[in-house]
Symmetry: C2
Subunit: 735 residues, 2 copies
C-alpha cells in the first residue's frame, strides 16, 4: 500500500510540531470525549518518551526502538486520555484491555506503565530491558506474568487473536450478567498491531471472526509505518488494507499524521468506542524511529541507534544529549492523574456491583464466583460413574461427549467450540446456545446471541486456539475454553496451543480422529509425529485415554489443571471398553498397571486407541508362546513423570528382567524413556478403512506377539543388559 | 454472505435444465473461446457424473459426495473445454495445473481423470475409493503419487498455497526461458476451493501474496455452496468475499448458477486466462449434493445418501435407479477428445522446443536440464572447504550464508526466500534479484521481476512453507525452494513442512535463532519442544550442526536428499569452531565420534549450539574429577538411525560400561534412545541475554560436570545395569 501521507519533517523546536493545536488543560471526560491538554505539554511528553526509548535500547545496544517511538502519540492518546485502567489495581475486573500484538515494541508499553504509575514498573526496572537481571519485569516481549500485561505476545499475529478473545469475553459476560442500568462488564479491548500482524494467517482468521461477531468493543490500532525487517512493506504486501477490513465487517478510520496528531487519534478512539455495530480498525500512519537519522527505514526497527544517533535524536526533540533516561517532572505530572482516575473508576464500579447485589442477588452471587475465577458448579459430580458408561465398543470421541456435555450444560464458565466439526467431535450439549451476534437471527436465521457458550470457529484451527487464549486470559478462571477438531489439525493450532502453555492458561483441547484408525481420509489426516510435539511441550498435558473410564480420568486431570492446557486425544473408531481394568484414578498418575501378572516375562505398554493390541497381544503370547505378559496403560507421560520414583518403578518394573514394549501407532520418539522396545510407526499413514490401515501397518496381535516373543527369547538368552541403550523397533512396517 | 441466487430447482427431464442453451457440437478452439456442445449432451454428462459420485460413495457407505456433485459443471468446463493436459502423458511439462484444495471432494477429480482417459484411472479403480484395496489410486484425498494429481491435498487451505507456488513456478520459468515467439512455459494453474479454504489462514496469506505478485496465470474457482460440516457458512463467516478478494488484488467474476451454467463458467475461465494484470477469483454459486433430497444441506457433505437416496437422485436425473456406476457411451465419447487434444498440445510444444533449441541452444540446454529435474550446477564444487571457514567463533547462521550464498548465486534451480528476516538469516547472495512483479519497479521502486530468485514472503511462515511445496511440485527437481525464518516460527509453518515431507518434496528450511542462546527475545522465541516434532516426523531431516564444517555437512545432506525436505537448525549467537574435530562427512552419518578417548568413563553427546558445553564439560571432568569423557557430535537422529548397527554401536558404544549423556537445551524427548541421561530443558525459556540464559538454565560446564561425575560414580558403584530403563534427567533447572 502506498503511504497515505508524506511524514512531516521533524523540526527543531517541539512547540512547532504541526498537527496539534493548543487546548484547555483540563482532562475530565465530557460526553465521552476527553478534553485535551496543550500541544506543548503533549509534545514534551512525546519527545521525552521517544528519547527514553532511544536510551533504553542504547544501553545494552539492542532491542526494538523504532516502532515504540513511532507509536508514542497512540500511547499518549490511550493511557492519558482514553483507556480505563487502574495502575494501583492492575487486575481491576472491568478495566480496558490493551494487547501489544507487535510485542517486540514492548518498551512502548513498559514505558507507559512506568509513566502512569504501575508500582513495580520503576525507572530502574525499565533499565533492566535486555539486561542480565533475573528479576526483570521488562522481558524482550511482554509477558502475562507482569502487572499491566494482559497476554504474552511476540509471535506475530497472536495478539490479534488474543484481543478478539478478550473482546468476546466482555461481550459474553456482559450479555450474561449485565442488566439495564448495570453495565458490570463493559470494557473495551484495544489491540496495537504492526504491519506483520496483517500478514499472519492467525490474525486474518481472527479478523474475519471479529467482523462476523460484530465485536464493537474491539479496536485495532494499526501502526502503519510500512517498514518491516526486510524494508518497505511494498516488498511483500500491496493490498488495500482498508477495503479488506471493511469487507471483513470492520469500520475503518484513517489517521494521516499518527506521530503527532494526538487529537485525531483520540477522536478516532472515541468514535470507535461509540460504534454500536462493528469493530473498528484505526489505520494510523506513523514513521518508524521518528526523530532519528534512520527514521522511516528498516534500520530503525531492531537495533539501537548508537551513541551519536541517540544524541542526535535528543537534539531533534530539544532535549539535552548529555541527559539519559530523562523524564521531566512536568511529564510525570502529566500522567499522574492515571492513578486517581483509576481509583475513581474502581470506586464507581464497586458501587455498581454493590447495587447489583441488592437488586440481583442470585446473579450477583454467580458473578462474584466468576470474578474470583471459581467454577460455578462442582463438576466432579457431573462426571458419569464407570457404571454409567457403555460396555460395548465405543469411540472415545463419543465417551468424551458423555463426559463433557453434562459439564458444559451446567458450568457457566465453560465455552465450547469447534473448528467446523460439530457432527464429529460430539461436544454439543442439549439446549446449547451459540455465541453469535443476535442480529444473525433475523438476517440469516442463525440461533444464538452473546450469552451463548457454543462457538462455531469455522475452519480456523489456529485462531480457535489463540482466541481461546484470550478468553482464558480475560480473568483467571472466569472462562474455561474448550476447543475441538481432528487431532491432526492441532498442527495448525500448535502456535496457539504453545502460547497457552507458556502463559499457564487452562484450556481443554478435544482432539478426535487421533490415529491411523481414522481410516479412509488417509495420511493427510493421520497423525504420526504430532504427539511428539505435545508430549515434549512444557506445561501441557497430552492425554490419550483408552476407553470411556479413562476419558473420564482425562477430563478430571484437565479440569484440575488450573494453570495448564490439556489435549485429550480421542479415537474416531470404536474402542473396546475395559471396565475390569481401566481406572480414572490411574489416569491421574499418568500410567498404571492395567493387567497385572506376577511373574511376567514382559510388560506391554498400551496407549489410547491401540490398547486393544496390547491386550490381545498378551492373550496371543500366553496362548501361542507360553509367555506371561502384564499390561500397563499409559495415557499421559507428563503426569507420570511427576510421580514419585517408587510408583514409577512399581508400574514399569525398572529393574526387573522383563523387557517393556510400548505399542502405539505413532512415531516412537520419547517412548524410549519408558520402554526397551517399541511397536510403532516409522512412516506416514495410508488411506484405508481404519481396521485395514492398522493391519496394513502391522498392528495385529498375530504380528506383534511373535516379535515380542523373539525379544523375550533374546533377553532370556543374552540377559536384559543386552537391551540397554539399544532400543528395538519391532514393527517391520507395511508388508 | 447471503446466497447470491436461489438455486434452481432440479426438474425431472434433464433436457429441461435451465441455463444452458443449445450450441454447435464442434469443440475446436477459436480465439481462445471453445465452442460449446449442445445443452443436452452437457446435461447428460452432468447427470451421469453426479449419479456416479452418488454410487461411489454409497458402495462403502462413506465419503464426500455433495461437493463433487455440486462442482460437476465446473469440472466439465475445465476438463472438456478449457484445461490443457494430456491424459497419455500426465507429466507433460507445460500442462495446466489443477489443484483440488477442497481435497475431500477427490471423487470429483478422480472421475474426470477417468472420463478423460487417464490410463490407470479405470472404473474399477474408481470403485476402490474407500475400499480396503492396497493398490487403490483413489485415496480419501488426492495424493501426488498418482497420475493427474499435482499435489496432495486435504488439510484445508494448503491447496491454495500450493497453487500459488505452481503459478509462481510458471511465471518464474517463463520469465527465465521464454523468448519472443517461444512461450515454452505458459501454463495456467486452476485451483478449486470450498468455503473452508477462505477461512484457513494459510490460504489468506497466500491470496495476499498472489495478488501482490499479480499472478495472472492463477485462477481460483470457489465452489460457493455456503455449507460446511456445521451447516450454513453464515454460522462463522459473513464477510464480503468478493470485495475482500478485490482488496487483495484479484479480479472477481460471479457465476450465479454454477450447477448448470457451463457456458458461463467457460466464459469466466476464458476471461481469466486473458487477464494480463491480476489473478482471477471465480465465485461459483453451487448447491451441495445437487439432485439429492438433502441438496443444499450439510447432510450432503460427508456421508453417503443411502440406497433410496441414490435411487432418488438417479430418478431426478432421468437415469435408471437399478443401474450403478453407469456412464453411457455418449458421455465417454463426449470426453474422448481429451486424448487427441492432449497429443496435439504436446506435439505443438515439442515442436516449439525443437525450434527453440535451434535459435537458443544455450538456453535450451539449461532448460532441458530443468525439465529433467537436474541441477544446473555441480553444487558440490561450490561448498567451501573446511580451510576456508573462519576459525574464530561464528554464528552458524553466518556459516549457512557462507555455504548457501555461492550455491544460490550459481544454481538456477534454487529459489531462496525469507519470512521477513533477511538481515537475520544471511541468505542474500551478491547480485540477487527479487522475485517480484516488475511493475513494482515503477510503482514502488522495488527492484525485481519474475526471473528473480529471492522471495520476500512477508511475515507469513505458513504460506512460505506451503507455497514452497507448490514450487517444488511443479516438476520434480526443477525448482529447489529454500525457506528461512527463526526456528521457533517453523511452528507456524509446521503444517506446510509436514505436507512437504508427506509428498517427498525436496525443500531446505533454514531455521536460525534455534536455542535459548537467542537470548533477550525471550521464551516466545526460544524453541524447547519443537525439535521433538521434527525429529519424529517421517521423511524429514532435522539437522543441527555445531560449527561451520558441520553446516557444510548439513547442506550436503539436504542437497542430496532429493525426495526429502530438511530443516537446518542454526544459532543466532557465535559458536566455537572445531576444525580439529568436526566433519562434514560425519554429518552424513547423523552422528560421529567428535573427540575419542579410549578408556572413556562416559560419552557426552553434543549437539549444535550446545556442543561447547559437551567439550568444556569433558575438560572439567578430566581436570577436576579425573574422569575420561569422549564426545560424540549428533547433528541428525534420522540419518543416524539409517546407519548399519555396527556403526551405531561403534559411535555410541552400546554395550560398554560407560554411560552416555546427551547435552542439549531442548526438551530431552527422544534422546532416551541414544543416551542414559540427559542434560536438557524441562521448562520454557527466559528473556535474558544468550549467555545469561544458558547460565540461568544450568548450561555451564561447572554445573554439568559434577552431575555427570555423580552419574559415573553411581555406575561404578551399582553397575551400568542400574541405568537400564531409568533415564536420568541431570539438569535441576534454574537456580
Amino acid at each position: 500500500m502506498a503511504p497515505s501521507a508524506v511524514p512531516r519533517e521533524i523540526i527543531q523546536s517541539p512547540s512547532d510540531y504541526p498537527g496539534v493545536e493548543s487546548k484547555a488543560v483540563a482532562t475530565s471526560h465530557q460526553n465521552g470525549s476527553p478534553q485535551i491538554d496543550s500541544s506543548e505539554r503533549i509534545d514534551k511528553s512525546l519527545g521525552e518518551f521517544r528519547c527514553l526509548i532511544a536510551d533504553l535500547t542504547e544501553q545494552f545496544k539492542g532491542g526494538h526502538p523504532g516502532g515504540a517511538m513511532g507509536m508514542a502519540a497512540i500511547g499518549v492518546s490511550l493511557w492519558k486520555y482514553v483507556m480505563k485502567y487502574s495502575p494501583e489495581n492492575p487486575n481491576f475486573f472491568n478495566r480496558d484491555r490493551f494487547v501489544l500484538s507487535n510485542g517486540h515494541t514492548c518498551l512502548f508499553q513498559y514505558s507507559f506503565l512506568h509513566l502512569t504509575g504501575y508500582k513495580n514498573m520503576t525507572l530502574d526496572q525499565l533499565k533492566s530491558y535486555h539486561s542480565s537481571r533475573i528479576d526483570s519485569i521488562c522481558p524482550g516481549h511482554p509477558e502475562i506474568e507482569h502487572d499491566g500485561i494482559e497476554v504474552t505476545t511476540g509471535p506475530l499475529g497472536q495478539g490479534v487473536a488474543n484481543a478478539v478473545g478478550l473482546a468476546m469475553a466482555t461481550k459474553h459476560l456482559g450479555a450474561t450478567y449485565n442488566k439495564p442500568g448495570f453495565p458490570l462488564v463493559s470494557n473495551m479491548t484495544y489491540c496495537m498491531i504492526g504491519d506483520a500482524c496483517l500478514q499472519e494467517g492467525v490474525a486474518l482468521e481472527s479478523i474475519q471472526l471479529a467482523g462476523h461477531w460484530k465485536l464493537n468493543n474491539l479496536v485495532i490500532m494499526y501502526d502503519n509505518n510500512q517498514v518491516t525487517c526486510d524494508g518497505s512493506v511494498d516488498l511483500c504486501n500491496t493490498e488495500d488494507v482498508n477495503a479488506k477490513m471493511r469487507a471483513c465487517g470492520w469500520d475503518v478510520i484513517d489517521i494521516e499524521d499518527g506521530c503527532f496528531d494526538v487529537e485525531g487519534i483520540i477522536a478516532a478512539l472515541v468514535k470507535a468506542k461509540a460504534n454500536k455495530e462493528r469493530p473498528t480498525f484505526i489505520n494510523v500512519r506513523t514513521v518508524i524511529g521518528i526523530g532519528s537519522k534512520v527514521q522511516g527505514d528498516a534500520k530503525a526497527h531492531g537495533a539501537a541507534f548508537g551513541v551519536e544517533g541517540v544524541a542526535d535524536i535528543k537534539r531533534k526533540f530539544g532535549m539535552d544529549p548529555e541527559q539519559h533516561f530523562s523524564i521531566s517532572e512536568d511529564t510525570y505530572e502529566f500522567f499522574r492523574d492515571g492513578k486517581s482516575k483509576g481509583r475513581q473508576i474502581e470506586t464507581e464500579w464497586n458501587d455498581l456491583v454493590q447495587k447489583y447485589a441488592t437488586e440481583y442477588p442470585n446473579e450477583h452471587s454467580e458473578f462474584q464466583k466468576r470474578v474470583r475465577g471459581e467454577m460455578t458448579e462442582d463438576w466432579s459430580k457431573l462426571i458419569p460413574a464407570k457404571s454409567e458408561f457403555p460396555t460395548t465398543p465405543t469411540p472415545s470421541r463419543k465417551s468424551a461427549g458423555l463426559v463433557c456435555n453434562p459439564i458444559a450444560a451446567e458450568m457457566q464458565s465453560m465455552m465450547v467450540g469447534t473448528a467446523d466439526l460439530s457432527p464429529s467431535v460430539n461436544m454439543i450439549w442439549k439446549g446449547k446456545v451459540d455465541f453469535q451476534n443476535p442480529d444473525l437471527r433475523t438476517t440469516c436465521g442463525i440461533n444464538g446471541d452473546y450469552s451463548g457458550r457454543y462457538i462455531h470457529w469455522g475452519i480456523r484451527e489456529h485462531a480457535m486456539a489463540s482466541i481461546s487464549n484470550g478468553l482464558a486470559a480475560f480473568n483467571k478462571g472466569t472462562i474455561l475454553p474448550v476447543t475441538s477438531t481432528f487431532f491432526m489439525f492441532y498442527i495448525y493450532a500448535a502456535p496457539g496451543v504453545r502460547m497457552g502453555a507458556l502463559q499457564h492458561l487452562q484450556c481443554i483441547h478435544i482432539a478426535t480422529h487421533d490415529s491411523i484408525g481414522t481410516g479412509e481420509d488417509g495420511p493427510t489426516h493421520q497423525p504420526i509425529a504430532l504427539p511428539a510435539l505435545y508430549r515434549a511441550m512444557p506445561n501441557l498435558l497430552y492425554i490419550r485415554p483408552c476407553d470411556s473410564e479413562e476419558v473420564a480420568g482425562a477430563f478430571i486431570s484437565a479440569l484440575q489443571a488450573k494453570n495448564t492446557p490439556s489435549i485429550i486425544s480421542l479415537s474416531r473408531q470404536n474402542l473396546e471398553q475395559y471396565p475390569a481394568y481401566s481406572s480414572r484414578d490411574g489416569v491421574q498418575k499418568g500410567a498404571y498397571v492395567f493387567i497385572e501378572e506376577e511373574n511376567a516375562d514382559v510388560t506391554l505398554i498400551g496407549v489410547g486407541a491401540e490398547m486393544i493390541f496390547a491386550v490381545r497381544t498378551r492373550d496371543v503370547l500366553r496362548e501361542k508362546f507360553g509367555i506371561r505378559a502384564r499390561v500397563v496403560s499409559f495415557p499421559c507421560q507428563r503426569i507420570f513423570d511427576a510421580q514419585p520414583i517408587e510408583y514409577k518403578r512399581d508400574v514399569l518394573r525398572y529393574r526387573s528382567n522383563a523387557p517393556r514394549v510400548a505399542i502405539e501407532a505413532y512415531a516412537v520418539n520419547g517412548w524410549e524413556r519408558y520402554a526397551d522396545a517399541g511397536y510403532s510407526m516409522s512412516t506416514f499413514g495410508h488411506s484405508l478403512p481404519g481396521a485395514a490401515a492398522y493391519k496394513y501397518f502391522g498392528f495385529d496381535e498375530n504380528k506383534i506377539a511373535p516379535k515380542v516373543a523373539e525379544l523375550v527369547e533374546e533377553v532370556k538368552k543374552d540377559g536384559i543388559e543386552a537391551l540397554r541403550g539399544e532400543f528395538r523397533d519391532l514393527n517391520e512396517g507395511p508388508r
